[in-house]
Symmetry: C2
């Protein structure tokens, strides 16, 4: 099938669809948008009328505090819907921007609402992704609040690799990882200098390789242990 609707493709990944669902999904119009590195897709305060589906690359949701310090509150890879919340919340409370070059599909709210009303199973799947994102957010609160820096960093790397694997975007224990050390400092709440030192500790322990936008986990069990990582919070469904 030539250039299938990526929305349809995404839904097919987790569940077999009825004829009606497939038809409805195919009919949803998408607007493809290419993003350059750092380019914002949504800004805090925006009133949006469409949702995003990530097609390629990586985006990050972030907030900035009064002193101008930025915190990344979520990262999004291909297949993620970073701002489904805009369906029910009037104003965006965070920025969403590309980490590196990325491509997204913009889906009109009205079309998504129609889809959700007509097809409860598709609505349920959408809501499930919102809830998983919320679960990830809670785990990040734990990560930032309680875990020491090396554990915190290892945990983040575990999550990234595992999510990439589940999305079919990893090659064994290797995946693209476009976050710079500055970005990682915005994820982990540590200073850039400390990020650098912690990464070197992880390298020295032969747990990871991380260079040129590529992450290679040399010792998954070891990284999981150092990172106090346990995947339940990702609510991954096996099939």
């Amino acid at each position: 099938m030539l250039s299938a609707n990526p929305l349809l493709t995404q839904f097919q990944k987790t569940r077999s669809l009825s004829q009606a669902e497939t038809a409805a999904l195919s009919k949803v119009p998408l607007r493809r948008v290419a993003l350059r590195p750092e380019e914002p897709m949504v800004r805090a305060g925006d009133h949006t009328t469409s949702c995003i589906l990530v097609l390629d690359g990586m985006l990050a949701t972030s907030k900035v505090d009064g002193a101008g310090r930025r915190q990344i509150t979520a990262i999004h890879i291909a297949g993620d819907f970073p701002d489904l919340m805009s369906l029910h919340l009037d104003l965006a409370d965070s920025d969403i921007r590309a980490v590196a070059k990325a491509e997204v599909a913009s889906i009109n709210h009205d079309h998504l609402r129609r889809l959700a009303l007509d097809h409860p199973n598709l609505a349920a799947k959408l809501w499930r992704t919102v809830l998983v994102d919320a679960a990830i957010s809670r785990e990040w609160v734990l990560n930032l609040g309680q875990r020491e820096s090396m554990t915190r960093m290892a945990h983040v790397l575990c999550e990234i690799l595992l999510r990439m694997q589940v999305a079919g975007l990893a090659n064994g224990n290797t995946c693209r990882m476009p976050l710079t050390q500055v970005n990682l400092s915005e994820v982990t709440g540590m200073s850039l200098v400390h990020v650098n030192r912690v990464l070197q500790q992880l390298r020295r322990k032969d747990l990871i390789t991380l260079a040129k936008g590529q992450l290679d986990v040399l010792n998954w069990a070891g990284l999981v242990k150092v990172g106090d990582f346990s995947a339940e919070y990702l609510h991954i469904v096996k099939h």
Copy 2:
């Protein structure tokens, strides 16, 4: 009306309801549960078949890391639905327990699902609360990741007072605040000792009074400033 259905009461707070909606809400059976301090209502790993509506007191959602350190990821006051996520996620990923004495209503999943399917406006309201909780969670990530300890603490206190006010549970700038300093350390990711020192700084600046389970914000503007607080993330609707 004698002892109205608290679920109905909660929904009436934000929107006037249709006859059908009122009738449907009135018919939903609730099971009232009284909780003693620290008593868990949900545990991580549980498969639940009902949701919670907080009727009185305060609950907290928390996670524990591998070293046994507990992080509170959300606090819930009367009118909140702490675990709507259980409607679509099989297993709980966090504990939910009473902070002090509390009372909750337990609502069967099936009844809520029926309600949501039959009354899209009620479903939308429920989802909106889920999304606001997620927005709060993102703000907490920012708070934990970027803000220094005094700002962090002030921010938490601002959020608590404002939410209590919106819920009609405050008396001017005073409200019940059953979180102990240990609890506040679990919220802010700081040590108990440091919580104590930071609270004293806030008191010395004549910003707050906090004792015997009661918070009094003496200088709201001042606390907002110290706490880098801005309420947008709570998505409060005026009416």
